[in-house]
Amino acid sequence: MAEFIRFDRITKFYGPLCVVENLDLGIDKGEFVSLLGPSGSGKTTLLMMLAGFEQPTSGNILLDGTAINDVPTHRRDMGVVFQSYALFPHMSVGENVAFPLQMRGMGRAEIEGRVKRALDMVQLSAFADRRPSQLSGGQQQRVALSRALVFEPRVVLMDEPLGALDKQLREQMQLDIRDLHRRLGLTIVFVTHDQSEALTMSDRVAVFNKGRIEQIGTPRQVYDEPATRFVAEFIGETNLVEGVVEAVEGEEATVRLPSGAQIVSAVSGSVSSGQPVFLSIRPERVDLSETRGDARNCLETEVTDSVYQGDHLRVQLQNAAHPLIAKLGRRSREFPPGTRVYAGFSAGDCRVIAP
């Protein structure tokens, strides 16, 4: 599939502060890409540059093969949804949705039909004559969404659109937006700092840190195969254990821990023997048993704490050298503190990460 949006060596300075550094990113038509990262990582700035609200200090932004650096925002044909909804407070819901169509010089009858369909899509056609201030936060965001989609923009940009909503509503909207994306074949660039939101909705996730992309891949890739320590820690919870590479064989490496134990682990980047590295082990991939099982990797540990959290049991373990956390399914048996257990996991369930 042809690349639809291309960020070509984009750099952005605010005064002496570099917020985006020599960044390359390509997005396909019809793709849902999340820009995920902590605040100040440059993800919103990148979105603002794509929308045309900000200019890159250097580098080009290409849309469908043409540079759009000099195209003003109102000619870029992109729908933008903000966290603060940004509805026009002096217009009714219907007038808000009609606005982009009026800007395109459509006839009254056509506008009416399209506005109705767009409001139907978000189940708000009954509210067309209300003022935005008379609507709840979730309803306002749905109006903003239908306003950004009604003119069939080439790209839809969303800047933390669900950040102001409560948890239940947010999860419902995540599914709604994902559904709209699939039904309408939209190209969506979605900025968020919420990793579970990014994993739920995206085709691909770009993990931002300090103005750079640390890793870009499918939700499964960034979660299961973190390329850097930052990605491993930012997405989900993980056990990070220091060690030294002893041998590398194909896609697997043997790592010796300070305690002397040997771990066989999958490798993300390139490492060589003798190199100090981190191991990332997801807590839910760890199994506990009182006997040494047949798992490839097995660490002898002692339970220090065990917390029942409804959907899972969270067990804190102390190995000879380092603490470890295991999340066990709710059918698991209890592990009272002081129990000596073996923590087992396969080579594919942990990753070697170069520091």
Binding site: A51, G52, F53, P72, T73, H74, R75, R76, D77, M78, G79, V80, F82, S84, A86, L87, F88, P89, H90, F99, P100, M103, R104, R131, S133, A144, R147, A148, F151, L157
Partner: protein
């Protein structure tokens, strides 16, 4: 409880202090006597009649309306434009620029008046309506700037960005989004500009000729010549006009707010 009582009493006293001069002058507008003094012998509307029939007063009222309207238009346009310009965060010396626009509020009117007279003379604008309107505009603009800046600060910048992204050119964003949202501030600014022009005396003394004698100026000179109750009637007109304009603004603002 005593504390609450004390607060209420204090508030009442403060309000009384502010409106006492008005209460003192207003009844005298309806006196039948020829001198501006209490007690009022009997009630009459003769001084209002005088106001609208005596040539000097009638012309003064018309002049005030002409100059007030001109000042309101000019000051509102300039002040609104200035406020929009001052929003630009990248503007150099933004703070100093804002102070500059507010300066006429604090510079003594006498100083402004002298400068204005010299300046307008250079352009041949003394003794003309245009000259008086320009002079009044200088002191009226700060009120518009304060009022419109406040209104603009209340607009979420993202609403304007959203409008742009939906296909509105900068001019359309201003016409369809920024201006309507700032309208309450623009209206208040316009009213304040009109009120400023209405009671401006000092600058008028310096730059106006006999043909531009305004109501305030006429009151000022007739106080020196003879203290006739026509002044009280003029004051009554002033206050009534101000109250009506104030009510109109309050009502239109609440109507605008209700539409939100």
């Amino acid at each position: 409880m005593p504390m609450k009582l004390a607060k209420t009493a204090f508030a009442a006293l403060t309000i009384l202090f502010l409106v006492a001069p008005l209460i003192a002058i207003l009844p005298l507008a309806f006196t039948s006597s020829v001198i501006l003094t209490y007690p009022v012998p009997s009630w009459s509307l003769r001084w209002f009649e005088e106001l609208f029939t005596a040539d000097a007063w009638r012309r003064a009222i018309v002049n005030s309306l002409i100059i007030g309207t001109g000042t309101t238009l000019l000051a509102t346009v300039l002040g609104t434009a200035a406020s929009l310009g001052l929003r630009n965060r990248l503007l150099f010396f933004r703070g100093s620029m804002r102070t500059l626009f507010l300066l006429p509020m604090v510079v003594p009117a006498v100083v402004l008046g002298v400068g204005m007279q010299v300046l307008l003379a250079g352009f041949g604008l003394t003794n003309s309506y245009a000259g008086v309107i320009i002079a009044h505009t200088v002191v009226a603009v700060p009120f518009v700037v304060v009022s419109v800046t406040g209104a603009l600060a209340g607009i979420d910048e993202r609403v304007e960005l959203a409008a742009q992204s939906l296909g509105a050119s900068p001019a359309t964003v201003f016409r369809r989004v920024t201006l309507p949202l700032a309208m309450p501030g623009v209206l208040s600014g316009a009213v304040l500009a009109f009120a400023t022009s209405l009671d401006e005396v000092v600058l008028t003394l310096f730059v106006a000729g006999p043909n531009q004698r305004t109501l305030a100026r006429q009151m000022f000179s007739s106080i020196r010549e003879n203290i006739s109750p026509a002044i009280a009637a003029a004051a009554f007109l002033f206050i009534a006009a101000t109250v009506v304009i104030g009510l109109v603004v309050v009502l239109s603002r609440s109507m605008l707010a209700k539409r939100r």
